[in-house]
Each structure stands twice: as C-alpha cells, then as structure tokens.
Amino acid sequence: MANAQMPLDEVLMIIALGAYVVGALALLVYFFSRSEWLRHLAIPLAIAGCAAQFGQLIARYEITHIWPLLNLYGSLSLFAAVAVLIFIIFAFRYDLWFAGGFVLGLSALFLAYAITWNEGSMPAVPSLQSYWAKIHVPLVVSSYAAFMVSFVISVMFLVKYYFERSLAKQGPHAPVTMRMDTPNIAAAAAAGNAGAQWLNTIPSLAQLDVLIYRIVAVGLPLLTLGIITGAMWAHESWGHYWQWDPKETAALFSWIVYAIYMHLHTRNAWRGVRSAWVSLIGFLSIMFCYFGVNLWISGLHSYKV
C-alpha cells in the first residue's frame, strides 16, 4: 500500500507547481487590473511554492541519500526555486510584483519540464562524487535563475520602449524628449488606450533599466563564481581546470555576453534599450548553455567517463 502512494518529494513538487500556476495567474490579472487582493493572494502562494520546492529537494535527499541536483530533474527544480526566491527578494525590496506573473509562469513551465525528467533515484558517477558538486551546481543554477528574472524585466523594458516608439511614429502625440521618457504612453493612457494604461503602471524605463542592472549584478558574480568552482572541480577530476569542453565554453560565452552588458551599461548613450537587448541575448545564451549543450552537444559534461 505504501508503495502505491506518491513519495513526499513528488507531492511537494506538485504543490509547488500548483502554487506557481495559481500565483502566476493571480499576478497576471493583477498586472492588468491592479486589484490589490490579487497581489495579496499571490505573494503567499509564491512563498509557499518556493518553500515547497526547497522542502522537496531536502525530502529527496533524505529519502535517497543522493545529492539531488546532479540531473536535469534536480537542477531544473532548483533553477525554478531560486528564480522565485530572487524574485521574491527583489519584489519586496523594489516592488517588483508587476513582473510576478511572468516570473512565476516561467518558473512553473520549467518546473513542469523538470518533472518530465524525473528518472527516480540514481547514484552519482565517479566524477560527480565530489564536494564540488554541492558548491558548483547551486552557484551556476542560481546565476541562471537571476538571469531569468532580469530577462523578464528586459522584455518588459523592450515592450514599453517599442510601444512608446510606435505611438510616437503614429503622431500627433508628444515628441520623445528624453530617451527614457514615455510621454506618448502617458498621453495614450489618459486617452483610454488599454495597452498604454497597463504599461503606464509599470515603472519608468529608467527604473526598469536600473532593475535589470541590479539583477544582472547578482547573476554575473554568481556565474563567475560558478565558473571558478567548476574549474576547481575540473582540476581535481579531469586534470585540468579548463578543457574547452562545450559546457564550459558555452558558460564562458554567456559570461562574455553579460560582460558586454556591464560595459555598455557604463555608457550613458548605450544604457537602456541597447543594454536591454544584450541582457535578453544573454539569457538566450544561458538557455543554450543549459539545455542546448546538455541535449544536443555531448562533451565531458554529459558525464561519460
């Protein structure tokens, strides 16, 4: 009978997924309607989902005694959990709830995808039996999670920016005076344009730009530390800290993209729409590094010794 029941870790996973889906829907509707009760409903759901996910990882470790992050199931579920965690921290600090529907929605998608990779418990192959696994994987996955949150804000920035541009072109609205101002959206919102009204309620382009910077500034040091600890682990396990393995080099590529972002962001004229595009490309490169390399390109990181 006991065998027929779902193990605790899988139950927690379903709870987290449910909380994210409902939370995402509530925040999406909040994004459009600005009804405060929806936000008050979604915040505890996001927190509960996140807690259930960490509970799931602990339960899995307790049940199997195997470090749970060494396959796509475990790492993806940590990815979703940390993305929600970072989002919650930023949301409390910088009032980021307007982006919550998208962050929770994406997390729910990744979590659902993670569940399809659940293969049951498997002991680690020799090269993964290292304490570095316990340091390196969480760091890298957390950096990916931070980049996911900055990606969502970048997309919002770009939508707002291009909406303003298209309104400015249609005339006879106010001309764009400063790069980061959105007078046309404000005017269209006052005139009852629904799209403009939604966009008018999210922070200004300048504030969105600063938010993107702040979140990338969490992700990039994490990625740097992730690459460094990965190199230390490789040094111990494969004999060289850098082997030009596809996974390493894909992470290096993402690191370079975000270094470009940081440098562009030091320039007044390039801060804003251009740096938002670079942040968006950065997250696509992270997704390639995470899934593309795992699924299409084999290398040392596919763990064949």
Binding site: M122, A206, A217, G239, H240, H263, R271
Partner: protein, 451 residues
C-alpha cells in the same frame, strides 16, 4: 614624426574606447561560440560526416576544429588585454578617480537648490555635520573664488573596476605560464605494464585496475551506472623511490609536482595464434588494444581487434549493454588485402578461422587504465586572478560611489544652496536616494534655521 604621433593617437583613441572593447568582446564571444557548436579536436573525417563537404573543408581550412588554440583566438584575447590596459589608464582612472572640480550645478540631471535662513559660513558647517552624520566623507575646496563642499560615499570602491581588470590580467598571466612551462598528456597502461611519462623522470606501473558498476532500474529502463574507478599503481619519481598509491576519480596522485588522474579505462587482449596447429609466439606475447591489428605473416591478411564485449547476451548471442564482465567476447574483423573478409564475435577460448591454416583464439583479457597527467605551474596564479576578478566585480556592482557637489551662495533669505550628484553608474540609479537626501537636507536646514 607627425605621422607616428597621429598613428599613436589613433591607436590610443581606438583601444581606449569602451565600445571598441565591446566589439572585441563580441568577436571573442562569437569565436567561442563556434567552438561550442563545432566539435573540437576530432579527426578530419568526422567533419565530412557531419557537414556538407564545402563546409567541412572551410572548417578545416580555418582551423575551426581546434579554434581555441588558433592564432586568432589567442590574438583576440591579446587585443582585449591591450585594450584593457590602454582603457584603464586613459578612461577608467580619469573617469573613476576624477579630481575635485567645480561644476555647473543646474546642468547636472540630479540637482536641487533651496533657500535657507542663515549666513553661508554657518550653513556650510551645518551641512557638513549633516553629511558626516549620514556616512559621507566631506572635503572642502576653494575653486575659482567659490567655496565648494564635496561629499563622497564609497570613494574607495571607485577602484573596483581596476581590481576586476587586474584579475583578468592575472588570469591571462597564469594561463601564459602554463603555455610556456606546463605540459599534459595521457597514457593507457595495461595491467602489469610500466610506462615512463614523457617530460618527467617518473615511471608508473599499473598493479591493478578495478571498476564498479551498478545496474539501476529507472523509470525509462535499466541503466548501468559507474560508481568507482580505481588504479593501483607503483610510481617512481625523480628520487628513485618506488611508492605504491591509488588513483581514483577526483583523487589524483602528485609525483614531483605532476598530477596523475584517472581518466578512462579499457581492455587489452592476449590471443593464442596458430598456423597449421603450430603456435606463433611472436604474435602471442603481445597485448592488443582496441583498434590494433594482428598481421598474419606471409599473407595479405590481418585481424583487427574491433571491440571488447564484457558481456554477451546468452539468448541473442549479441553484445549486451551490461559493461560488467560476465561472459566476455571480442569482436574481430578479418581483412584480406585491405578488403573486409569476415567478422565475428568470438567468446574467450573459442577460435576464429582466419583461412590458410591460421586460427586465432582470444585467451585472456587485461584491464587498461587511462591516466592523464598535467603539470601546470600557472594554476595558483589563475586561481588568485579568478578571486581578484570576482572581488572586483562585487565591489563594482554592489557599491555605488557617488559624489555630491555643493555650493552655498548668499541668497534672498540668507543663503542659497545648490546641490548636485554624480555617480559612476549614471543618474537614474541614484535618483530616489538623491531626492530623499535633498529633502532631508532641506528639512534639516530649514528646521535648524527656524529653531
């Protein structure tokens, strides 16, 4: 002379431009991506198998099969280092560590001004106390006949960029040391065999190799999961003393500063070879690795040891997926004048008839351990550089050096304060704090002057 000067100026202008550095970063990124997408270090035929012939030829011609060691890959990193150096002296230092100077307050996007009661001198003193109480470092200067007050926060953190850039240079230096003085390689050692490792005075004998594999039932079927690989070796270093040791994955052996790693494993075969029933010792007393050939003397025939199969499936007679050794066999291919003339999966002690009176019998197998060795005298420098880089990133990202420019002039109510702020990351990032600060300062001084 004039031309040289102009050339030099152009060079400095170009290499000192952040956008040029970004361009170099883009090229570096794209070359790195090429190496991710195109498998590296494979033999040329692989590329012709995977890509259309013209593309495969292009890949090989441009060395895209070994891109990370090409002159242009190394060259782009060299250019980045050059640009970084020029930029650091021409841009970063002047931009991040500017002298205290007078500014046109209302030309700076973050500015505020208000009138307060009181003479400028006492207002300056009260203002100074206000800033100090909030953790600002205050300096006063007379510039062009005007008394300026400057307040800085996290001024030391202006050097964070320099730290990050220095970290990158240190990493580059560490990797260069490896290229200049380091070496690495690998050796496949058959059980009982001794190899002398090139570049070193070390010899290593493989006393035994073992591996542990666990069959696991997963939701999508049976998986054979490797659990452990262990080489027991006797290593003799430059002191001539033989020491026994074990090498396992994640636990390398250090002999004279060279590290030896467990990297792979395989099998070697011994065969009984007879011609018309007579043993041929020259062909028998050898270890054959996968891919090796047994050339039958006096014929055009050869037998290739194609694959060692640890377990043959009893029902089908085909190789099974089980990598543990239960019913071993070896897959042999017979070639005659280079043409395939037969093949078979031959169990141990069974014989294959190679024609012309030749018979080949797999007699025993031996485990082979793949050991990789590396000597990298730059590794600690790379490690230090990595942490310096990380520290630089954190200082640059998490601390916001900001400078307030304040002047107090006589005004209608006594004094007029002009306040402006600049940060190393533009204005938007500081807007809210600036407004709060200006409001608090106004309240304080107006409150003070009333009280």
């Amino acid at each position: 002379m004039q031309a040289v000067r102009e050339l030099y100026d152009d060079f400095i202008r170009t290499f000192g431009n952040v956008l040029f550095a970004v361009l170099l970063f883009i090229v570096w990124g794209l070359l790195t991506l090429v190496g991710v997408i195109i498998a590296q270090g494979k033999d040329p035929a692989t590329y012709f198998d995977s890509y259309a012939a013209p593309l495969a030829r292009l890949i090989l011609r441009l060395d895209f099969n070994n891109i990370y060691h090409t002159p242009y890959y190394v060259g782009i990193i060299g250019l980045i280092l050059l640009s970084l150096t020029v930029c650091t002296f021409k841009r970063v230092i002047p931009a991040r560590l500017p002298p205290l100077r007078a500014v046109a307050i209302d030309k700076i996007p973050l500015h505020a001004s208000f009138d307060v009661v009181g003479d400028p001198e006492s207002i300056r003193d009260r203002m100074e106390a206000f800033f100090r109480a909030r953790g600002w470092n205050v300096r006063k200067r007379e510039l062009g006949g005007v008394e300026w007050t400057f307040a800085d926060k996290h001024n030391w953190a202006r050097r964070g960029v320099l730290v990050a850039h220095a970290g990158f240079v240190i990493i580059a230096a560490g990797t260069t040391i490896y290229w200049a003085k380091g070496f690495s390689g690998d050796e496949a050692i058959v059980t009982g065999q001794t190899v002398s490792v090139p570049h070193t005075q070390t010899s290593i004998r493989l006393d035994g190799f073992s591996y542990k594999i666990k069959p696991i039932v997963t939701k999508s079927g049976m998986v054979y999961q490797p659990i452990d690989y262990v080489s027991r070796v006797t290593a003799t270093g430059s002191d001539g003393v033989a020491r026994t040791a074990t090498i396992r994955v994640n636990h390398p052996l250090d002999v004279d500063g060279v590290l030896y790693y467990q990297s792979s494993y395989g099998f070697a075969m011994r065969f009984r070879v007879t011609h018309d029933g007579v043993r041929v010792p020259a062909l028998m007393n050898r270890d054959y690795l996968t891919g090796d050939e047994i050339d039958l003397p006096g014929t055009q025939r050869s037998i290739v040891v194609a694959q060692f199969v640890p377990t043959v499936d009893r029902l089908s007679g085909q190789p099974s997926a089980d990598p543990r050794i239960n019913d071993p066999a070896v897959f042999l291919q017979i070639f005659d004048s280079g043409q395939a003339a037969g093949a078979g999966l031959i169990p141990m002690k069974a014989a294959i008839d190679a024609g012309g009176g030749w018979r080949v019998t797999p007699e025993r197998y031996l485990l082979v351990s793949g050991i990789q060795y590396t000597h990298d005298p730059g590794v600690s420098l790379v490690g230090i550089g990595a942490f310096v880089l990380l520290a630089g990133l954190m200082i640059s990202f998490y601390l916001l050096p900001a400078r307030l420019f304040v002047r107090v002039d006589p005004g209608p109510e006594g004094s007029r304060i002009g306040l402006a702020a600049m940060t190393v990351k533009g204005y938007d990032i500081f807007e809210r704090q600036f407004n709060d600060l200006a409001a608090a300062l106004g309240t304080k001084l107006i409150g003070d002057s009333r009280g």
